[in-house]
Amino acid sequence: MAGGGPITGPALSTGPAAGGEGLSQSAPVPGALVTPPTGVVTGTFWRRFTLRRPLAALIIQRLGLSVGLLFAVSLMIFGGVEALPGDFATTYLGQSATPQAVENIRKDLGLDKPLTERYLNWLGGAVKGDFGTSWASKNSVSEQIGNRLGNSLFLAFFAALVSVPLAVALGMLAVQYRNRLPDKIINVVSLAAISLPEFFVGYLLILFFAVQLGVATFPATVYDSMGFGERLSAIALPVATLVLVVLAHMMRMTRAAILNVMSSAYVETAELKGLSAFRIIAKHAAPNAVAPVINVIALNLAYLVVGVVVVEVVFVYPGMGQYMVDAVTVRDMPVVQACGLIFAAFYIFLNMAADILAILANPRLRHPR
């Protein structure tokens, strides 16, 4: 676990503290919905709209909130970097820089212009997909990111493809055998899995599968001319690592979400109607469990996007994460800023998707009084 996501620690949904944390992922939204943040339009029109179409209003608010958050995040990434000590030009040239050279470089990099102008230029470019030029390689940042982003998404996509059905199935299995042996085994194993750092899992897999058995490839290099099948075999180990890491979280949260629904009074009602176990689950539990489970999945996908950073470094996989880590070590600021913004955007987007799905799945909001 690379400490990327907000998803932390075991047993997210047992105990009061865990309940808070479990909610915490989506909490910015309900909180913000009850008391709209300043800046959201509040007029009689909006008020009437909220009353008539509460669902649409909530979703519009959530979308607005995400755009606002993204904007604020861009300010933080840009402004925070600017406000921090040390001059880029000095960093850029190293300690031996002459004042004249520093001056030239500042001009070259546009650091002599006022802060707001530079921010607006940067943001304007970013919106159009132009992140400027890398200090280290002098290449266009966008061009380099383009390829790598695709690679990272490729990796994350397959990890999601394997882990989501597996997590939901295991979560349901744990619920089915609640407090019996299979549940206890799943609990202990997942607790252990949560505690494993990604790099440990990664190297363990490499040592076993690539070095000792020789059935997998390492490093996981991919290049443009590679066929689809070759690519898949190259990313087998990184995907396995990501799956192992994200699976335990997702499964534990799924289990908690389903348990919550299964212990509700309406499931008891269904049972007292003499319905079959299958119908109780399919007709009465599932529609209410879908929202929390989708929420869990979206949140873990958000974590996955970040989890790729460490896994890419471990497997020397040419993705965004490795690019960013390399840029950080050489203090290549345009690259760091661009990667930071893109990662944050994905993260915010997936969190938003989770919240909107939760809103959509709530019958109280779908069918207002």
Binding site: P10, P28, V188, L207
Partner: protein, 275 residues
Amino acid sequence: MRLSSIPISAWVGIAGITLALFCALFAPWIAPYGERDVVGDIWLPMGGDFPLGTDNLGRDLLSRLIFGARTTIFVALAATVISFSLGMLLSFTAAVTGGFVDQLFSRFNDLMMAIPTLIFALVVLAVLPQQLWILILVMAVLDSTRVFRIGRAVALDVAVMEFVEAARLRGEGTSWIIFREILPNTLSPLLAEFGLRFAFSILFLSTLSFLGLGIQPPAADWGGMVKDNKDGIIFGISAALVPGGAIAGLAICVNLVVDWLMKRTSSLKGGRGDA
């Protein structure tokens, strides 16, 4: 609470944590070699003079592991303590004061949490000088956003209880309400949360070190040791897995204890609800 009531899994956790703490406290006395001494050939296998073998520079792996426990636990613990104090202070203030202060703190916290922790840390550490106290502070501040969220939720849960209202009606001051009415009722979930944050800090620090942004060499720390020895993996040399296993082991131990604490809290609460 009786000792026999602690389940085996929690005992395993407690034993593991104790062992790690013992290594951290008495490292210079129990380590067979010095932290930075090159004592043999590189990547010697386990056994003989070097129970765990040697690392990429020929240093004794066991000794570095023991010294590494010191750095890793100290930094993680310091970051957790700071993040906890900061998060709790702000969250309880927000929950008890309410109104504008609460809104301000909570919205800012939402903003901080909108950026994934690791990405945030990478951006910030790219700019800041590489010093230990800066590393601890960055970890603490980033982690305190999570503490804030939990702290506020837990405090709000208790703050709406009628006994808090009764204290207000009696005319009690804010500090009495926080320290005598709310805090005693939030200790157990918060203790569990502290454990969680500590486990998270260990993993986070190790990850940063592994990426080369945490503790700087030649000081030994577990994440950094994985980084040092990772090139051996491809030759079938498992030196990198030893510190990796230590990180995993300690994190598992902490989580086992936390799991027990949480179950205890929730069953206490359940007991009260049934009555």
